[in-house]
């Protein structure tokens, strides 16, 4: 190539570089639109309905820190309609010394003559002071009697935990949860059977069966619960699937069907 052509190419490249180098690579990020977050799981073992209502963090300064790090909403009107048509008002008691904190609405359904263990479809409705409305329904998997297994010795190096159970009407999946007291060691969704060797480890490499006493549940879960919890957090996919209208989160239900205790060595 002639000298003039090479000079031309170099000149063009220099000009383009200079133009590109003037680009501002960082823009300030504006706060996002408000978004309600709701968590509520109906568990047939307990005479309790708890609804957690919060606002997602979208870059707006928070007044109160409560549910996780989200902004609790304590002045919403929260109702749950039972299968028999009874509408229960779930209240957020934020008085000093109250059992639950801000944004946590709770009631005992038996106070309204409702038993979760009878199953059926429940409807949640939330109306905030600013006019945001949330609705959702959950159908409790058909509750059989909870089968309690005898406590047993479990040798990690030798034993395998094998469980199976029948299909439960209304169950989308089944969750196996093992832990002790409040500490959950491992949870996994499965079909109607499970085989876990004593040497199994979690995704973080921790033992599924650490030494000492362990308790496990197998719960039949509805589609809302399953879809919301079945995948880990994914920044490219967005929030976990929600079956709520007007909010992200979950209004789901579970029915424990197996319970067992292990003495792990």
């Amino acid at each position: 190539m002639k000298r003039s052509s090479a000079t031309f190419v170099v000149s063009v490249a220099t000009m383009l570089m200079a133009a590109a180098a003037c680009t501002n690579f960082e823009n300030p990020t504006a706060p996002g639109p408000p978004q309600l977050v709701v968590h509520s799981i109906l568990d047939t073992r307990f005479d309790k309905i708890v609804v957690l209502v919060a606002r997602a963090r979208t870059g707006v300064p928070r007044a109160v820190r409560g549910i996780g790090e989200d902004d609790p909403i304590s002045d919403a009107t929260v109702t749950v309609r039972a299968p028999n048509g009874t509408v229960m008002v779930v209240r957020n008691d934020i008085a000093p010394g109250a059992t639950y904190g801000p944004g946590i609405y709770a009631l005992n359904p038996s106070d309204s003559g409702v038993r979760l263990s009878d199953g059926g479809t429940y409807a949640l409705h939330i109306l905030t002071k600013t006019g945001e409305e949330v609705s959702g329904t959950t159908t409790i998997p058909e509750p059989p009697a909870l089968q309690q297994l005898a406590q047993r010795l479990f040798l990690r190096a030798r034993d395998t935990l094998r469980l199976s159970w029948p299909q439960i009407a209304g169950a989308r999946s089944y969750e196996f949860v093992i832990g002790y007291q409040d500490d959950v060691y491992y949870r996994v969704f499965t079909d109607t059977n499970l085989s876990l060797p004593g040497t199994a480890v979690t995704i973080l490499g921790d033992p599924v069966f650490p030494g000492g006493p362990s308790q496990f549940f197998v719960e039949a879960v509805d589609v809302n619960y399953y879809d919301y919890y079945r995948m880990e957090s994914d920044p490219f996919a967005g929030a976990a699937p929600s079956h709520l209208t007007g909010a992200v989160g979950v209004f789901g239900s579970i029915t424990p069907i197996l319970f067992g205790e292990l003495n792990v060595r």
Partner: protein, 687 residues
């Protein structure tokens, strides 16, 4: 020299020459040496010969010389990185050696080594290509409108040709760079044959180990061999072998630490037997070439994290047989051929983690393909290539008849107008998600009853003008329409079969421009500019710009050869690709069945992200200047070539993604940078 670098058999459109018999060679060798005067020999460039003999629409090529003189990427001359500098070929970012060709998805490219498919031709999570530069003679790429002999992918065909060194004795090249050592040997194999063998291994792990054990427990290694030999009666046999592995293995030093291991690699073995029939029935033409090839291509990936807490495996087992008959006459080249392929494709994962497919898949694919192709010199100024390809998937009872047509009209001997139209099908696809800017590896799966063949139409119109015998100017505009594309379902349910993919359709359009100065004097290089506009429609009917929708991409590549030095530079300026902004975040609260309580504490991250419109934002434009300087001298008959290379000379801050934090007010956005300035040096010895 150039002619010797072409494949073992003539390309369609080129008339074959009958190989010399061994007897003739012997009789010549018995005569005494004859001293000839020095002569200057100018061979017509292969690009020029292709311009004159074929429609050659959307065809690009890079020679070994181009590869050797381009600035290096992290000290390595990389075949796939060099292709990203050509028009129509784009990379998402510095961390990806994968390609998006004319707006197509990254899994739509058929990568061949001497005609044999290779499934994941990358190292280090896409940072480097697998091909060893001294073992490559040239790379041909078709970015659209490819003829009937090629199929199985929607966007492009890339064929990497092994080097063939016909000099007697053993010749070689060894390179020592900052990250790897390469040794390539080759030479004549008897009379009428060649052999080559090349190997490469990175050694950063060994160096870091001297200072800190297990400090960098990663390396990759390749071996690439090729042999070709003429046989009696006009037969020729050629074979290629490639093996490459990446290994990341961490052995715990302290109690409480866990072992981590990821291994992946490709293995390709292929052989081609061809025969030239110099005398054939007159109805077939002047000569005939028959070719039969068989190959096996394997890919394995095994991930073992946290003592097996997370395991992920992916496997491809492919066997392929293909054959063709090509008849040559003065104005016609007729080809017929077939391809039988079987793949065993397995992907399994023991835990549904983000960014990776969560379903385990095991499939057996079979495909039967056949084609006819006709290249016709209608008049001295009109060339037409037309063909028909038939692809059949017996397992899913799917069949496709895919027409191909291209033409070239010579306005004069240096200026031609070109056009092509064709339909393409693809049934092996990747589970990797295009929306994720990092693409460490493709997990291949096949079509089944729920995921039929994807198809695309290509329409291309262009012109090519040879300004001088070594300078060419080319412009092509294209429109591609895709139907039945699929994309991995990010919310795929591992307990349900059939929801692994979601249907997508759409189109890509644009133009690419290339001004190329082939190296004939001091300067060689090219200017390549690509404009693309892409649209996709997802399963819900929402239109979006796909993540590879880079509107403008400009590459300036040049090398200047001086008597003792070679200087090379590459400048890239590219507009930003789309991404999905995060507009908020919240904590997923877990229910505790033991006490009917709720907790925001979990062993795994529970942060959930609220996203804006899909790919509704764009990254800023990126730019990068790489330069290199090479000198050479010849002590003791060796060609010694030390070099220095600087990547991203002025340390441009290029962004490939963002991390948002909405826990803060105002929220923060941290940009994830591409490579900063990175100087490297190395040494090459040739003999």
């Amino acid at each position: 020299m150039v002619a010797a670098l072409i494949a073992a058999v003539p390309a369609a459109g080129q008339r074959p020459t009958a190989p010399d018999s061994g007897k003739k060679a012997d009789s010549l060798s018995r005569r005494g040496p004859v001293m000839l005067p020095a002569v200057r020999s100018d061979t017509t460039r292969i690009e020029r010969r292709l311009f004159e003999s074929k429609p050659n629409v959307s065809n690009l090529s890079i020679s070994a010389r181009d590869l050797g003189s381009a600035p290096r990427f992290f000290a390595e001359a990389d075949v796939l990185r060099s292709l990203q500098l050509m028009p129509g070929v784009e990379a998402r970012n510095d961390y990806s050696a994968g390609m998006n060709v004319r707006g197509g998805e990254a899994d739509q490219n058929l990568v061949l080594l001497d005609g044999y498919p290779i499934y994941n031709p990358f190292h280090f999570g896409g940072l480097f290509g697998t091909f060893i530069e001294p073992a490559v003679s040239r790379v041909d790429m078709m970015t659209g409108g490819f003829p009937a002999p090629f199929g199985g992918r929607l966007s492009s065909v890339l064929n990497v040709r092994s080097a063939e060194d016909a000099r007697s004795g053993v010749h070689g090249t060894t390179e020592v760079s900052l990250i790897a050592s390469t040794l390539a040997l080759g030479g004549a194999l008897g009379s009428g044959g060649t052999w080559s063998l090349a190997g490469r291994r990175t050694y950063a792990d060994q160096i870091v180990n001297l200072v800190h054990r297990n400090g960098f427990p990663y390396h990759f290694a390749d071996v690439h061999g090729h042999v070709a030999h003429s046989l009696p009666w006009g037969f020729r046999i050629a074979g290629t072998i490639y093996g490459g592995n990446d290994l990341l293995h961490y052995e715990p030093e302290n109690s409480g630490e866990q072992s981590q291991g990821i291994m992946w690699g490709n293995h390709v073995l292929g052989g081609t037997l061809s025969k030239v029939f110099a005398t054939v029935p007159v109805t077939l033409g002047d000569s005939l070439v028959a070719e039969q090839r068989v190959s096996q291509s394997l890919f394995d990936m095994a991930t073992h994290i946290d003592d097996g807490g997370f395991t992920l495996t992916s496997k491809v087992r492919e066997v392929r047989a293909a054959g063709s008959l090509t008849a040559y006459s003065a104005s016609h080249t007729h080809s017929i051929g077939y391809e039988l392929a079987g793949q065993r494709l397995d992907y399994s994962v023991n835990y549904p983690v983000p960014l990776f497919p969560s379903d385990s898949v095991s499939q057996s694919e079979r495909s039967i393909s056949a084609y006819v192709d006709e290249l016709w010199h209608v008049t001295p100024s009109l060339l037409i290539e037309t063909g028909l390809r038939y692809d059949d998937l017996p397992a899913t009872h799917e069949r496709a008849i895919l027409p191909r047509f291209s033409l070239k009209y010579f306005v004069n001997e240096n200026f031609a107008l070109t056009a092509a139209v064709g339909q393409y099908a693809q049934w092996i696809r990747s589970l990797a998600r295009e929306d994720i800017p990092l693409r460490p590896v493709d997990y291949w799966v096949g079509s089944d009853s729920l995921t039929p063949m994807s198809k695309a139409w290509h329409y291309i119109v262009g012109m090519e003008r040879w300004v001088t015998p070594s300078r060419v100017f080319r412009v092509e505009t294209f429109y591609k329409r895709y139907s039945r594309l699929i994309e991995p379902n990010p919310f795929d349910d591992p307990l349900r079969t059939g929801d692994e993919f979601l249907p997508v359709q759409g189109w890509s359009t644009g133009a690419d421009v290339m001004i190329r100065q082939f190296e004939s004097g001091r300067f060689g290089g090219w200017l390549a500019y690509t404009y693309t506009l892409n649209s996709r429609t997802d399963a819900l009917g929402n239109r979006f710009f796909p993540s590879q929708d880079r509107r403008h991409d400009l590459n300036l590549v040049g090398s200047w050869r001086f008597p003792r030095y070679t200087l090379a530079a590459r400048f890239n300026l590219a507009s930003g690709t789309p991404y999905t902004a995060i507009v908020g975040q919240f904590q997923r609260i877990r229910y505790i069945p033991y006490n009917s309580g709720y907790t925001s504490e979990s062993r795994l991250p529970e942060l959930q992200f609220l996203t804006g419109p899909r790919n509704g934002e764009r990254l800023p434009m990126s730019q990068r200047l790489d330069v290199s300087a090479t000198t050479n001298f010849r002590p003791w008959g060796l060609a010694v070539t030390p070099y220095v290379s600087v990547m991203n000379v002025y340390n441009a801050h290029n962004v490939f993604g963002y991390v948002f934090d909405y826990a803060k007010a105002p929220p923060t956005r941290i940009s994830l940078p591409q490579f900063p300035v990175f100087p490297t040096f190395g040494l090459s010895l040739s003999w």
